[in-house]
Symmetry: C2
Subunit: 462 residues, 2 copies
Amino acid sequence: MTDSTAAARRYSRDHAQRFQDELFELLRFPSLSADPAHADDVRRTAEWLAEHLRELGAQNVAVMPTAGHPVVYGEWLGAGPDKPTVLVYGHYDVVPAAIEDGWDTPPFDPVVLDGRIYARGATDDKGQLFIHLKAFESCLQTGDGPPVNVKFLLEGEEEVSSPNLRPFIEVNPDLLAADVCIISDSSMPTIDRPAILQSLRGMTYVEVTVEGPHDDLHSGFYGGAVDNPALALVNILSKLHNPDHSIAVPGFYDDVAKLTDTERAEIAKTAMSAEELLAATGTPAPWGEAAYTIRERVSARPTLEINGLLSGWTGPGPKTIIPARAMAKLSSRLVANQDPHKIYELLKEYIESIAPPTVRVSVNLLTTGEPALIDFTIPEMQAAVRAYEKGWGATPTFTRGGGSIPIVADIVSLLNMPVVMMGYGLDTDGLHGTNEHFSIEMFQRGIETAIVYLDELAHLER
Amino acid sequence: MTDSTAAARRYSRDHAQRFQDELFELLRFPSLSADPAHADDVRRTAEWLAEHLRELGAQNVAVMPTAGHPVVYGEWLGAGPDKPTVLVYGHYDVVPAAIEDGWDTPPFDPVVLDGRIYARGATDDKGQLFIHLKAFESCLQTGDGPPVNVKFLLEGEEEVSSPNLRPFIEVNPDLLAADVCIISDSSMPTIDRPAILQSLRGMTYVEVTVEGPHDDLHSGFYGGAVDNPALALVNILSKLHNPDHSIAVPGFYDDVAKLTDTERAEIAKTAMSAEELLAATGTPAPWGEAAYTIRERVSARPTLEINGLLSGWTGPGPKTIIPARAMAKLSSRLVANQDPHKIYELLKEYIESIAPPTVRVSVNLLTTGEPALIDFTIPEMQAAVRAYEKGWGATPTFTRGGGSIPIVADIVSLLNMPVVMMGYGLDTDGLHGTNEHFSIEMFQRGIETAIVYLDELAHLER
């Protein structure tokens, strides 16, 4: 480790409380990308990040418009053209959260409890993206500054599957040109078992709508002679899976890459036991394809989930109606080499084929995302292993992720660079649920590991 | 027809505009009995009705508390002990309504359009109960006054299946003692085809809850290895019906009275064609048990409907969660001689028997109501036929109702009197849906028919 790196790490420890205070400011923005009512909050979050990058010393900082929420860009090219350039990707948008959902504290009023920061976005992804801003600051304020050039690409639509980031990348290839992309938007099982993500699942997300009567009907007057859209919907949804829990949509598995024995052995290194699954989720029993281990099911196998259901009367007490309509949100997590658009067509075709003539059914695509797979033998991935060993204090494993960061596949293919996914969260951080949190110790270790990784990248053979 | 009756009818026509203005006052109360937030509105409605009864000349008027919403009572015994006493039942509560549901006008701000009053409760049941208040006023202000004694029993919990009215009747048998009960809370197919209800369906209403993980889970991290409560719920609900649309709950049909050929012939007099069903509801095609006509399906056969579904994310855009829970509201319309509590037990037992061990399922009873059947050969029913012929201008048919007025069975058994159900609404009034309305002409004809019926009852052989 160079003296500069040691100095930067020391700086990050000396300024830990201020770093945390600044993160709290970022966490207070309810930057819900899915809800149009929060568009201004998303924009204000972008403006705060841009201002912060400027204060840190980044140049060419801009809040760049897209067809949706803006991208925040900033760069520091002071290491010079002989040094590699790192593109840091992160997202500042979050999924919805409200105290009524069952949070113990208001989700946009961060608090520290038992060494953890509780807030929506604490781990996904505001806390993790902030690690790279603070690593950058720590390098710039000490020694000779960052040993590599750094570019920041911070988006506001990751939680709605980044519909406008691919177009943004397509028109800005020079601006975003770099040697390697770093993303911290993932997690490890425990603090002593860091992980580098090797793959991500893709996604096809649809909304199914079933319509029957033109209005809600009095169930006494028409009950028995009119198909109930809620009943038609549940009948359709009940045919999406086979009794063995595999997916019943014809052709769904056609392009799924079969797991080799070697791959299964690698996945087994991060095995999840039934006990661990039950403890982490509270579910009464494991579920899924018996031929696959739990870890395989949640990372190397595709899924089809019901994410939401809505029909008729859902308030207190009874209301005796036949609902006019029923709605389901469905999403499929995809693995290499499934094509999200092809899966949408298969799903739509299948649902339409099993829909009864007594209702009207529509299947609308909400978002898609490509699955991704990164070769872990490349120098940039191996440098990350060393960064964890020196900066974190443990050797990481390469893992397959069950989640989706749709832009990873796009960065690899459009910008022609490897993506190294060094996640600093814990599997138990509760992201997307209630009481999402982020460990302060992991925030600190993350900053130091990120500092070391810049140093490792600066010394790679080019 | 006596001179008194003719005078009362004339009075009702002369004061039609004021009667309508008063009804508008009643319709402006959002007396939603299902929603605790509207409890004060329900109470204010009761107080308005009590005050109005006092102004009309009723005695012993009281807003009488129950364990839920209050009962409004009032009486006029001026006809003397030699004359029969009529108990008028009506309900002043309504089902929920909001402009956001798709109403063309605010549901609690009544308007007249094309001779119809649009408002929640216009036909069910504020407009219909008000007919009897105005018939009473018209008799009292003309000739010798009402030819029979009159008692009013107006409740505020019909739309939540009258949980507290049976106990109220049980402790007040003397107060409510009468010779016949009149209820106007039903409808006819067209204005020239009046109908007297001969039967009503009962009800068992339950809420099914499926719980899995302790919190909503990120579907990427756990999707594939955890049962999805929404999926478990739809699988359960998809097993409630057989492919022939009959109900799959074992024992469900055990106590259903089989229809005789005579009964089927009577029902056929009010046959509903597929075209009429489609035009009235907007449903794309008829549905139900092939062995029964449409009218039989909606009146003489039991049903099992999904009234509401809720799980996970139902707002705009995607949210990639495995929901922690899923909920369905289910209700069964029952026919003679089904027992609502037995049906609840059968339903609960069946659902629990098909629930998978990967989730926790509960089935909770919300309300019940007994089915009812009235003999149409009795004098009070035949007097109603004559009242329609003289007051309405058409001969009524006896029909079986698909809806539920749970208290009818209780009045028959606890107070030992026949219940004559003379409905003044139209099947197309849209009750329980959006844009509920009530014809002003039917409001007027209803008042005059009610006046004539009192006269017919006064002249029955006793």
